[in-house]
């Protein structure tokens, strides 16, 4: 059985922090689009670094994974790879379902 990459389990004791977490992700996507438009790879790297740190801490494994890939793409000044990451990120945020346990 394939694991549903959009299904996220978050510990109950963090439930009230999740709305703010999601709101910050949306701001992050806007900032990433802006950085890609301006070819600002340092900004992309910093955002990727932050995503890498916070995503899995809350239970959002894919945020951490995308953060790592973004950091790498920024280091390589690879705008195309960064755009792919952002597209995946947008798709993930739109489709994810959260359960608290």
């Amino acid at each position: 059985m394939t694991e549903n990459r959009y299904a996220v389990k978050v510990p109950k004791d963090l439930a009230d922090l999740v709305p703010m977490f999601m709101s910050n992700r949306k701001k992050e996507i806007d900032a990433l689009r802006e950085a890609i438009g301006a070819s600002d790879f340092e900004q992309m790297r910093q955002i990727g670094h932050r995503m890498k740190g916070s995503g899995r801490s809350y239970g959002f494994l894919l945020v951490t994974e995308l953060g790592m890939r973004l950091e790498e793409a920024a280091r390589n000044s690879d705008g195309g790879a960064a755009e792919t990451c952002v597209a995946e990120y947008v798709d993930y945020i739109e489709k994810l379902t959260i359960t608290y346990e």
Partner: protein, 380 residues
Amino acid sequence: MSEVGASGNSGALARGSSILVADDDEDMRKYLVRLLGLHGFQVEAVKDGDAALERIGESPPHLMLLDVMMPGRSGFEICEYVKSSEKTALIPVILVTALDDQESRVRGIKAGADDFLSKPVNREELIARVSALCRLHNTRRELEERRLAEEIQSKEEIRRTFSRYISPRLAERIVDTRGDLFEHSAERTNVVALFADLRGFTRLTEHTEVGAVVEMLNEYFAILTEAAYQQEGTIFNMAGDSMLIGFNVPFAQEDAPARALRVAEEAVSRIVPFSSRWQERHGVPTGVGIGICMGESIVGNVGSKHYMSYTVIGDPVNTAARLMQMAGMNEVLVCGRYFGSVSESISAARVESLGNIALRGKSEPVAVFSIKALERGKAR
């Protein structure tokens, strides 16, 4: 602005430990505050290095959790600052770094970090590392407090012991200098030497029972000791019925001659009524004879590794001893040099020059003056 969190159910070790979190990522800050708070830690969080420094200055926490990359001062800089100050050096610092960031870990070790935590943060690892370091910090603090208490107790014991030989105030100063004062075995220095002994003592011992003699000696020495300590004199020797008190040692006393004079006057004025009482009781006249001289002497620790005595040796001491032997009951005899240093403070009516006297064991005659001690409450 800082975020604060505390609640929970953690063990006794964590309770009461205050933790400062510094991270510019709002989500990470909230996450750390929440988890640590749930485990009973008192957590405060700030969003940059400068705010962290401010909080440390106001109230040092028990532990710090610092993100490495922050606006303003970095986690490394905060860590270096904390570890370089005596006041905060013992506070454990955990640096939060990326798992694969070896370079940051090496730099963190150089900055003095106590531990590292990887991002993304694993909650079990976070609590385990923080608890372990808090426990270590608390143990260190307890040991330090115990060591300080023992040091204070030990100082107090030393001070009490010293106080039986020198004035309590001098004992305090010696303890404060951690014994450095006695590091040099001996030195030449100017000393005012005062010898006192009890006149009539030998006759008294022949006519009085032992218990009464000891009682009298105790009273007599109590008077001399109190007088010496009031003037911060050092008692070098107490033998039979005589006592040697030194001034200007071990600490310099600019007014050493005046201090010695005050001791002589106090001793005579207090021993006179005491002698009258004893004469009434035992029929034997008693009184104190005092000799004072000053000059360069050798002062220091003399003896063997098994027994050491803080001693003063030299011509002024010998002269003071001879003058004491010559002095009549309740008389103070002083050498010319000493008299020169106090003459301005004594009225001529109280002084009688006895001329140059050849003292036993001295090749040259010594100018001797007799100073009539004041009765209590009378002007000089």
